[in-house]
Symmetry: C2
Subunit: 359 residues, 2 copies
């Protein structure tokens, strides 16, 4: 049962290191847009409040955080979630341990994943974004990736928007990243022919040797993306799982097969540009009756339970392999986030800030 | 029953005026890309051939013909249909009367619509693209428009791709054209709020006064398409029915509502450009989970019978009004086709080449 925030004995007050946003960002973010500050926190949910006090164990670095680092106008159609607040801890998915709770279904000691702060301890008041971790036998950090938001994104965007059929030709960009590595392996399980693009030869090797991609190319060393696609996918693309947008999307549009689906999960290449890339090949969608569809994971959390069981099974059976890029300490978080935008991470970028749930 | 092509008595040989393609086109087509030539034709299906000899009554001018006037490379992903053949009659939808037939379901005297030549008489060998006209009580020319390919395009693209719901905010570009005028009226029947754009004040008046659009604007006199959309559709767009592409599509993308659908039926603004317009606002489809889908009517002819009955009913009940731009004589066909690309036509562009089916 939930512990009460109203215990008589005094609650501990501890130091709480956090990553706060210093200023709103235009263009690409830098480490200097964030700073580490040290605050204190009472390790108890205030009386009368329904909330969960979480000790954060793993922070997730995800490209979409960039969007929340900017100041948006009211009604801006590009907004994904509310802007971060200057001087306050940034917010994202993470894994933690419950220290105190007045939530009826969460109790001290529970391991949880969901929306928390970029800090050592967070008083989570929007408890609907926290879920109990059901597979503690797997590495907890997986709940920032393959078993968390990126995994659910890969699963629901690929199957619900991409609608793959056995034998389909699938192209995945950012293919070794948190989402892409899962998409490629799900596509193989679904019986597709899968090609990935990534930004280094090391990542291309990972794609072929570790994740089972049928073919892969390094987009940085190709002079002509269209030629690379024609070489790796001579019969065209049935499903393009797009995480990058821009020139890669433009080349893929030219190369889609009749009735193809472009599942657009992100456009990381478009962050920080003064003017977005102009996509010139969109007219191809008429002749080929192609569907291009934007994805937001918020609409798919109802699939989570089914997804978690299926994915945990694949991991245990060795059908899905996970590559993480784990750095230690909350001080590493700003650089790890910035690294995403130049592709410095190899695999899912995680920041481990504590390995134990003891306060 | 079908008449036979093997009758003993001699068949008439008559003059056959036709519009032929003189040269393949790059950029915008001109009248000089076509010429009128006079040939002769035997008014009988050759012995042993399954075909239909049609006297053409109405030719349809449609933007998609532009695509067939160019020489495409093998495997060009933008191709909609085979290139026209230099020196031969151009091909498109039309209305005609059967003069002779060896097709089991068509007989001399039948009125038909479908794929025929831009000439006075055509020996139609691909008879699967001819259909009998079931509503002879309506003007025959309607089978080039509201009851033909453009009508079926409007109906199936709007309902199957646009998936309108009652109360939805619908935006239609090229809104007074052959397809747009039908879409707007179907949207009103479906209980939507409908705004159209067109290229002259005269057309804007038609939209509001004749087709029942709730609001409309002249895109040529607006300095900011986004501002025009915000003014006419302050709550955004649920369904954008796109026939123009380019800057209008870009502005509409910024203004889509969550879960909106962009049904892309054509991109007439993109014909004749050296380089296609670069669409910069595609990233909006992620935050708003918008679907952008290309349409080709070829996949929807199975809906024709249902469509024809429904549409004929709307016309008879006065729920759908038709505006045609009919010119007389096959000599007028090249100029009428060219006029589409500058928006010279008001309503569906038709060329009447004979009002009687007598040879």
């Amino acid at each position: 049962m939930a512990s009460s925030g109203g215990d008589e004995k005094a609650a501990a007050v501890v130091q709480n290191k956090k990553v706060v946003l210093r200023r709103y960002v235009t263009g690409l973010p830098t480490e200097e847009d964030m700073e580490i500050v040290v605050d204190t926190i009472v390790l108890r949910v205030p009386a009368g409040q329904t909330a969960v006090l979480v000790k954060n164990l793993y922070l997730s670095c995800d490209p979409w955080m960039r969007d929340r680092m900017s100041k948006h106008d009211d009604g801006d159609p590009t907004v994904l979630a509310p802007d971060f607040v200057i001087g306050e801890a940034m917010v994202n998915f993470g894994v933690g341990k419950v220290i105190d709770s007045t939530h009826p279904e969460l109790t001290a000691g529970d391991l949880v994943w969901g929306m928390s702060g970029w800090e050592e301890y967070t008083l989570v008041t929007q408890t609907e974004y926290l879920s109990k971790i059901n597979h503690k036998e797997l590495p907890l950090s997986y709940y920032t990736g393959v078993l968390g938001m990126p995994g659910l994104t890969a699963f629901s965007c690929f199957f619900e928007l991409g609608k793959p059929k056995k034998g389909d030709f699938v192209f995945v960009s950012a293919a070794s990243g948190a989402v892409g590595q899962v998409v490629g392996q799900l596509a193989k399980i679904a019986g597709c022919f899968v090609v990935g693009s990534a930004g280094s030869d090391e990542k291309v090797s990972l794609l072929k040797d570790k994740f089972g991609y049928d073919d892969a190319f390094n987009y940085r060393s190709e002079t002509d993306l269209g030629a690379a696609l024609r070489r790796c996918l001579p019969d065209g693309i049935d499903v393009y799982f797009d995480s990058v947008g821009g020139a890669t999307l433009d080349a893929a549009l030219l190369h889609m097969r009749h009735g193809g689906r472009v599942a657009v999960c992100g456009m990381i290449s478009q962050y920080g540009l003064e003017e977005p890339y102009g996509v010139r090949n969109l007219y191809c969608i008429i002749g080929k009756t192609v569907r291009v569809e934007g994805f937001n994971v918020n609409g798919y959390f109802h699939l989570y339970t089914r997804f978690e069981e299926e994915m945990a099974g694949y991991i245990k059976d060795g059908k899905v392999t996970v590559v993480e890029d784990v750095v230690e300490g909350i001080e590493s978080a700003p650089a790890s986030l910035i690294g995403l935008f130049s592709g410095r991470n190899v695999g899912k970028q995680v920041v481990a800030i504590a390995h134990s749930g003891t306060p």
